[in-house]
């Protein structure tokens, strides 16, 4: 693989102002209210049955841990239903993207925390993948 190493951070401008700030506010207000969104800035809600994976106390992006209780509640916060039980049930009800539950999601880019995923989608900043992340898979 002859790719050179890109050490630059993904393109962005610092503190959002004007339209970008408004966009961030709108996204935060609506998604926090509807999905209990944690503003990771790299939204995959549609791939996880509209259940925000960042609510999982272990921040799992690829499915449940092994600790889900038999009644489907979370091992860390037993008063909460497992985010991934919700994701599985939610994904079965979606008209599209059901197969996304089988996709391997890439590691979180923690620099995007508290930024707008809508903006990052447009600027493609959320497409950043480390050079050594192999998207094609094995097995």
């Amino acid at each position: 693989m002859a790719r050179t190493l890109d050490r630059r951070p993904p393109p962005t401008s610092p503190s959002p102002k004007g339209f970008r700030k408004a966009l961030l506010l709108v996204e935060r207000q609506t998604k926090e209210a509807v999905y209990d969104c944690r503003m990771c800035g790299q939204c995959i809600l549609h791939s996880t049955g509209m259940s925000c994976p960042m609510r999982c106390p272990k921040n799992l992006r690829n499915g449940p841990c092994g600790g889900t209780f038999q009644d489907g509640s979370c091992e860390v916060v037993p008063s909460m239903k497992c985010v991934w039980v919700q994701a599985w049930e939610g994904s079965r009800k979606l008209p599209l993207w059901r197969d996304h539950m089988e996709h391997v999601e890439r590691p979180v880019d923690w620099r995007l925390q508290e930024t707008s995923s809508w903006e990052n989608l447009v600027t493609r900043r959320d497409r950043y993948v480390p050079d050594g992340w192999d998207e094609r898979g094995h097995g």
Binding site: N62, P64, M101, E102, V108, D131, W133, H138
Partner: protein, 327 residues
């Protein structure tokens, strides 16, 4: 699950085995592994002592990574000490206590110390342990770690893309829990783990054999079993209290009422023997499930019982696993 473009699969891996365990799996032996909670001692002999009862009884010993979120001797160090003592080790890597830098450094370091089998997992919550106030990391999840380990081994690169001078050589394993919700998703999650790089799986403790049967049938339907060796987790309870503990205190374990009732209905003096009987019955049942390549034995302060189960299941003598000499 997508096929790798190179058409590689775990079973048709390169003919040179990566580890002693790998050699047995390639040969089609029914393998036996066991879990060793590493000690709380700075005395190197403590590790060998703890594993003494497993020598010659099992093919490889898992060195747990701060199991139940309690710190113990680092699994990499424990594995190294086991290898020195001639016991094949499987080193666990949990994502709770290290970020992606620490995990990659330790994968490489473990390989340099002679580790030839690794198992990647998410890790229990810190709330389950004796430092509930700690900051859990979970920078990456188990599936990310599997792919990173596989990329380090096969492509000789870190996640960043930076080249390794000498890539590690180890067999890569994962865990799966066929017994916890969402049950229907679990086989797909197995598929994701294989796609990410897992070559063998150790399952969570199986008391409910029917659930494991369904899980394996579904995995077979998805075409996963040609790509992975599945070792069924079997627990050897020492007493009825042990079964209660698993049912009430350990999340994610399905302990049917019949199991608890059976041990409860046994006189205290006979409970240890009844626990062994129970484990033997489960071993017998899981052996008949197509695709199960071995068993992974677990217990709590009852290590002697593991040898008894292996012997009475007719799984002795174990074929020689020559632990790898440390380079």
């Amino acid at each position: 699950v997508t096929e790798g473009p190179d058409g590689s699969s775990a079973v048709a891996a390169d003919p040179e085995p990566l580890s002693g365990l790998h050699r047995l799996l390639l040969r089609g032996e029914f393998v036996v592994t066991a879990e060793l909670e590493t000690t709380d001692s700075a005395d190197p002999a403590s590790i060998e002592r703890a594993a003494q009862g497993l020598r010659g009884t099992v093919d490889a010993v898992n060195c747990t990574d701060n199991s139940a979120a309690h710190p113990h001797v680092a699994p990499m160090a424990a594995s190294h000490l086991l290898l020195d003592a001639g016991i094949e080790a499987i080193t666990q890597f949990a994502c709770r206590d290290r970020n992606r830098l620490g995990l990659q450094a330790d994968l490489l370091g473990a390989a340099a110390l002679g580790v030839r089998n690794v198992v990647c997992m998410t890790g229990d919550d810190v709330g389950a342990g004796d430092h509930p106030e700690a900051k859990p990391l979970y920078d990456i999840d188990a599936i990310h770690l599997l792919r990173i380990a596989r990329t380090m081994r096969d492509d000789g690169r870190y996640l960043s893309g930076r080249q390794l001078t000498d890539p590690p050589r180890f067999l890569i394993g994962a865990v799966e829990n066929p017994f916890a919700p969402p049950i229907d998703f679990r086989p797909m999650r197995l598929g994701k783990k294989i796609e990410a790089g897992a070559e063998f799986i150790q399952t969570q403790i199986c008391f409910n054999v029917e659930k494991l049967r369904i899980f394996m049938a579904r995995a077979a339907d998805l075409g996963l079993l040609e790509h992975v060796w599945v070792l069924a987790g079997v627990f050897v309870p020492r007493s009825a209290r042990g079964a209660w503990y698993l049912r009430d205190m350990v999340p994610g374990i399905d302990v049917p009422d019949a199991v608890v009732r059976r041990l409860d209905g046994t006189l205290p003096d006979a409970q240890r023997a009844e626990g062994i009987e129970l484990a033997l019955e489960i071993v017998e049942e899981v052996r008949s499930i197509p695709g199960i390549a071995g068993i992974h034995l677990m217990t709590i302060r009852n290590e002697g019982a593991i040898a008894e189960v292996v012997e009475r299941a007719g799984l002795l003598p174990r074929p020689a696993t020559v632990a790898h000499p440390v380079a």
